[in-house]
């Protein structure tokens, strides 16, 4: 009977992923494509002026980083999964991310014993958005291709640590009535930000600042939409499971 929970979560996640794909295609992807025009210009410059200090470090970082530095390198490193095109690859990723976040949400709901219903779904969605999007974005704002950034592995470690600490911190702050818990929650929530996210040494970029500002807002807005949809769908699904149990 436990399988019902997984199926409900996965279906909710897939549907939220479809909604997210539409929102992304309208609000986010155009900005990524626009930024890549400047990114490719920048790469040409790097090759032409390797003598300057900044671009030689960029070139070195490119050599050290096994991940391709731009989508434009597709083909050089084996291309995409199943030879998918750009849009279908993004949709597939959204479906997987949707199912993944839905399962994590189910896991936390079950672990904490705080029920998710159609009524509390929005609140759970907000908690998920804070945990996975907003709080990590305080240290590592959603970045466009071509942005200066610290070592990938360092940022990923900080991101994962911040997500886990944010989830624990929010539970301590909101999920428990004790005063000690609320104080501990604030400390846990603040700790990754007091420690500080890994920052790049050089912060210049060929990508215009206006695009960056638009992208950061668009990324946070579309993910907020995604999490609200996911929370509502999960809540509605759990209500139905309750009725039919």
């Amino acid at each position: 009977m436990m399988v019902r929970f997984f199926l409900a979560a996965i279906v909710a996640g897939l549907i939220a992923g479809v909604f997210m794909s539409v929102a992304q295609e309208i609000k986010v992807t155009p900005l990524i494509l626009h930024a890549e025009e400047f990114e490719n210009v920048g790469e040409g410059d790097v090759e032409q002026s390797l003598s300057t200090r900044g671009s030689s470090i960029l070139a070195l970082a490119g050599l050290l980083n096994p991940v391709t530095t731009a989508y434009a390198h597709e083909g050089d490193d084996g291309g995409t999964l199943f030879g998918l095109g750009r849009l279908s690859g993004t949709i597939l990723a959204n479906l997987v991310v949707g199912a993944g976040f839905a399962l994590l949400l189910l896991g936390v709901v079950m672990l904490t014993g705080i029920p998710i219903t159609a009524k509390t779904g929005v609140l759970w969605g907000a908690a998920g958005w804070l945990t996975f999007q907003f709080l990590p974005a305080l240290g590592l704002p959603p970045e466009l291709p071509g942005f200066p950034a610290a070592e990938l592995a360092d940022r990923q470690v900080w991101w994962v640590a911040t997500v886990i600490l944010s989830a624990v911190g929010l539970y301590l702050l909101i999920g428990r009535p004790e005063t000690w818990s609320k104080i501990a929650g604030v400390i846990v929530l603040a700790s990754p930000h007091l420690y500080g996210a890994p920052q790049p040494e050089i912060i210049t970029s060929d990508v215009p600042a206006l695009l960056a500002a638009e992208f950061a807002v668009a990324a946070l807005a579309t993910t907020a939409f995604f999490w609200v949809v996911l929370g509502l769908l999960m809540g509605a699904a759990m209500d139905r499971l309750d009725e039919h149990a």
Binding site: M1, M2, F5, F6, M20, Q24, V28, T29, I32, N65, V67, T68, T69, A70, Y71, E74, D77, G78, G79, L81, R86, G89, T90, L92, A93, N94, V96, V97, A99, G100, F101, A102, L103, L104, L105, L106, G107, V108, V109, M110, G113, F132, Q133, L140, P141, P142, E143, F147, A149, L152, Q156, W159, V160, A219, L220, T222, T223, D242, H244, A245
Partner: protein, 59 residues
Amino acid sequence: MATKTAKSEIASGFGQRITVAVTALILGAFFIFGAGLANSAVLHDTAHDARHAYGFPCH
């Protein structure tokens, strides 16, 4: 067992709840890792725009 209400079956057994929780967390983390964080060029290129859109650390 026959007198169980719907509510109590959902919450039946701490062990069952924890089993669902742990399995869901592991499976969900696996999905998120694969789509968002895995250091594979193929996975990266496929999920590129989505990785940026969710603010996963990328590049």
